[in-house]
Amino acid sequence: MPEQGDARDHQHIVRSFDEELKALSGAIVEMGGLAERQVADALKGLVEEDIELAARVIERDARIDELEERIDQDVIRLLALRQPLAIDLRMIAMALKISNDLERMADYAVSIAKRSQRLSEQADRKPMQSLPRIGQSCLAMVKDVLDAYVERDAEKASAVWHRDREVDEQYTSLFRELVTYMLEDPRTISTCIDLLFVAKNLERIADHATNIAEKIVYIIHGTHINRPRHEVE
């Protein structure tokens, strides 16, 4: 199976097609960079009680939506005008799906930012101590999956895919921890529930990073990572 790496050494006869493909990849990378920053800032805003940073995350979401629309249009145009095949077809079709994953990721970042505004009013910060750990795991997955996209590196994408389980485990353990806090002191219930939602959002962000990893492997090899059915949800 010829791979993307090889294909990139071979230019299209019609050079404007190469430029359009490069522009599409560029839009994905830009959108990915923004989404990564949204997740990072949402986390930072939460942990450092920075309400202004959280507000900026909420504001910046519009730019991500704009990029998603632009990618939709670019993909439709390329399909109609270039009738791409093989690796070009896979790359273009997956751009549509990857941009959707990035948009969802950014939405979860906004959710976290909104909750962090509420959480900043809470006096008891103790239940929040475990959050940065799962946050950093998620953020690392997002960053690595974007690197894998830029480098067209199927192995790196595969490694990200395998890390999803780690985040799932961290989420489960955080869930138990928060339930324990709530049992010990019912006054923490409100905070803990907000934190549970944040943790769930982070876990979903990692799921989308995992989805993107699958799509990168599909772009490069034309095959799907085999995922046991019970792990899909």
Partner: protein
């Protein structure tokens, strides 16, 4: 007798569906004078399937197509080696009647080429010389069935006595298809049958090809990659006289196994 497993001296086969083999080519080499035009081609043509032959100009796809009903015999300097079988029968065997081969393996050409005769006579000619009709009524039935089979009957039923050349390009090509199917062939070879037609006439031919494969086995040469993708179930990619890759069309166009195939179908050649 050569076995009919899917090949592969020269090509990578993506996968093989359980369908039966209608024609098989084994170690086919071909020369025009001293110049070799085909190199060790090994390929199967599946029954009731459309097989598309693609590749850049001069890659040997038309040359290979013409081997399948010995059309290359008409070129004096042409020499063919290897084995081409139709239902297991070697069509290059000296005992074979080449006229019978071409009755079983018909051909439609790039440019519509109706005889300078009436629409009726264009279709009736083949069945008549092959003695397929016992009476005028028989012949009428064959002509009607063939024109219907080619999707042309409704358009020409009331003017069968007019010259075939009076039809539009797309209609002429369908007339040639009617002429080809009138002698009840088993395989139809098509050499860029739509290259001289507009998109609507092309769509009619493509729809017809899909219909025809229920009755016949079809091999089509096309320069139009999208057409190959639309009409065929199997695709063979030729380059410089060699079969580079052969497999299910869907796989060839979404995830070819060979770099050269990918470069060609994505427009990176050269």
């Amino acid at each position: 007798m050569v076995t009919t497993t899917v090949p592969t001296a020269t090509a990578t086969v993506s996968s093989s569906a359980p369908v039966s083999v209608k024609m098989s080519a084994r170690n086919v080499n071909l020369w025009y004078g001293t110049k070799q035009a085909l190199f060790d081609v090994n390929m199967d043509v599946m029954k009731h399937r459309v097989t598309a032959l693609i590749g850049p100009s001069g890659c040997g796809k038309t040359t290979f197509l013409r081997c399948l009903n010995r059309m290359n015999d008409t070129i004096g300097s042409c020499r063919v080696e290897g084995d081409i079988r139709l239902d297991g029968l070697n069509i290059y065997d000296p005992s074979i009647d080449v006229v019978q081969v071409r009755a079983r393996v018909g051909m439609v050409f790039q440019k519509p080429n109706p005889f300078p005769k009436s629409i009726y006579e264009n279709v009736a000619y083949g069945p008549r010389i092959h003695g397929l009709a016992r009476s005028k009524a028989d012949l009428d039935d064959i002509v009607e069935a063939s024109l219907r089979g080619a999707g042309l009957w409704e358009e020409v039923a009331d003017r069968l006595d007019q010259p075939g050349t009076s039809l539009s390009g797309g209609q002429q090509q369908r007339l040639c298809i009617a002429r080809a199917i009138a002698v009840s062939p088993e395989v139809i070879l098509m050499d860029e049958p739509c290259s001289a037609l507009d998109p609507i006439a092309t769509a009619h031919i493509e729809e017809l090809i899909d219909e025809l494969r229920k009755t016949f086995t079809i091999v089509i040469v096309t320069h139009n990659m999208q057409q190959a993708a639309r009409v065929s179930q199997y695709t063979a990619f030729f380059h410089l006289g060699k079969l580079i890759e052969f497999g299910p069309t869907e796989e060839i166009f979404t995830r070819p196994l060979e770099q050269m195939t990918q470069d060609y179908i994505t427009g990176r050649f050269g």
